[in-house]
């Protein structure tokens, strides 16, 4: 039986790690993800897990140690934020290319500079093309649930890719919520024993990893990764269905909130979805057909499903908590509009960059977006596609 506990997002994820009892956790502290390895190191010191805890000297080494552990047939995990993820950069690509399902708690924080410790999505958005599966979590419950599912998704035989569970720094990592925790045995049974199809320590089937892959082969290896990413959609849904059987909590590729007859909708990730849902409720109380889509699985990007879900709207705003600084729009906006192109015609789509560096996002801010969408739905005219929400213009 599950039990209810008051936990912060980081506590919940460290408990998930403890329940999974991985072979190796290698981590380097960085705000706001520090507590994950900090709590975990206590479990390791107290003998509550069998894990080899490796306090490395940098995030580059943390990811390298995870890669080494996975290559040796182990199950490895880490956690990081912002500059830590940036320092892992080089190794993120190695983990995905070698098809090693490392699990990473990515606690979203603004990338410097200027230096800032608060939440936005510029860190993980920068890693969106690194070949990692990215799952985004709105609250502590989702951060916990998605971390456990991440292990099973990454290790799925058709996938074999690393997975990051992304949740908002401080907002989700440090807030305490009353959430439901699975029993240790349930988690162990759910993730199962990791049986990699090959590894470096298997003397029955010797192998080598990491050879030079010249122009005759490299392209085919990237094509394989692309295929694994595409087919992982099926595995992600399979794992979600199994998870629902155990916990009763339902997960999909994205959450549709009051979308049935929605004319105006927001597409958003992570914690601000909670604020926006309140605004949807207020608007619905006033007879306005407002809805919301909260993307859970951002990599792979569910193009057909997102396009279908937005097909009946009149006006849509995609909210990005990271700017691409490309003169055109944020990363989620670019993906959503690409998904709709050629699949859905006639829906006006605009972009808002919001909350950079932890700037507060209030219901009034979100209301402003829906007001603009209603105006666009009524007139069919878009004044500006690429907008900023809550920045001082004067």
């Amino acid at each position: 039986m599950a039990r209810r506990e008051k936990l912060s997002g980081n506590e919940a994820v460290s408990i998930a790690m403890k329940q999974i009892n991985p072979d190796v956790v290698a981590a380097y502290p960085i705000t706001p993800s520090t507590e994950v390895p900090q709590y975990f190191s206590t479990y390791a010191a107290n003998g509550e897990v069998d894990t080899e805890f490796v306090p490395v000297e940098s995030e580059h080494s943390a990811m390298s140690a995870c890669i080494g552990a996975q290559a040796a047939g182990g199950r490895a995990m880490t956690a990081t934020s912002a500059q830590g993820l940036a320092l892992m950069w080089e190794m993120l690509y190695i983990a995905s290319a070698y098809r090693l399902p490392v699990t990473l708690a990515a606690v979203n924080r603004a990338l410097s500079g200027p230096i800032n410790i608060h939440n936005d999505h510029s860190d993980t958005m920068g890693a969106r093309d690194s070949g990692w599966i990215q799952i985004y979590s709105e609250d502590c419950q989702e951060a916990y649930d998605n971390f456990i599912q991440a292990v099973k998704i990454g290790e799925h035989p058709d996938v074999m890719l690393p997975v990051m569970d992304c949740y908002d720094g401080f907002i989700t990592s440090h807030k305490v919520e009353n959430i439901e925790i699975m029993e240790d045995e349930e988690v162990k049974a759910f993730v199962g024993k990791y049986n990699p199809p090959y590894h470096l320590m298997n003397k029955e089937k010797p192998m080598s990893m990491g050879p030079l892959s010249l122009p005759f082969y490299y392209f085919e290896q990237k094509r394989q990764q692309a295929e694994a990413m595409k087919t992982s959609i099926k595995a992600i849904l399979e794992v979600a269905a199994e998870f629902e059987k155990v916990t009763g909590r339902k997960y999909g590729l994205f959450e549709e909130y009051r979308m049935d007859d929605a004319e105006v909708a927001i597409v958003i990730l992570n914690s601000t979805a909670g604020t926006a849902k309140d605004v949807v409720d207020m608007l619905r109380d006033n007879g306005i057909k407002a809805g919301l889509i909260k993307i859970r699985v951002y990599r792979p990007f569910p193009v057909e499903q997102i396009a279908q879900a937005l097909s009946k709207c009149k006006a849509v705003a995609v909210l990005d908590k990271a700017d691409s600084l490309n003169g055109a729009g944020g990363p989620v906006f670019t993906d959503v509009t690409s998904a709709m192109f050629g699949r859905v015609d006639g829906v006006k789509v605009i972009n808002y960059i919001y909350g950079l560096g932890g700037r507060d996002v209030t219901t009034d801010n979100i209301k402003e977006v829906y007001d603009n969408l209603q105006e666009i739905a009524k007139t069919g005219k878009v004044k500006e596609v690429y907008n900023y929400l809550g920045v001082r213009e004067v």
């Binding site: 098809r99 192998m207 122009p215 082969y217 085919e220």
Partner: protein, 97 residues
């Protein structure tokens, strides 16, 4: 581009994940000799079979038979000419000189 004589280039569907290699001693299948810049030529009439060339070759491209120098394996010789420098009898020379 030429992958080399007799090399079958597989589809991505038939290749191992991440360029992982499961076959032992497979370097023999990779004909690195096509990187060769200079080419050593064996002049057998000058050779005294001292075998000073054999240990200096970094690519094991000196072919021996019954302990006798026979010439080069050009599939792997990269033309560094260290063997030519080691030969006291002018039994190895650079092609075209």
């Amino acid at each position: 581009m030429n992958a080399g004589k007799g090399v079958k280039l597989e589809s991505w569907k038939n290749m191992t994940h991440g360029a992982h290699v499961f076959e032992a001693g497979n370097a023999v299948n990779f004909k690195t000799g096509d990187w060769r810049s200079d080419k050593p030529i064996f002049i057998s009439e000058n050779c005294k079979q001292c075998l000073l060339c054999f240990p200096v070759c970094p690519d094991s491209a000196i072919v021996l038979e019954d302990g006798q120098m026979q010439g080069f394996n050009y599939d792997f010789c990269k033309g560094c000419l260290v063997c030519m420098m080691a030969c006291p009898f002018k039994a190895i020379e650079k092609e075209g000189v």
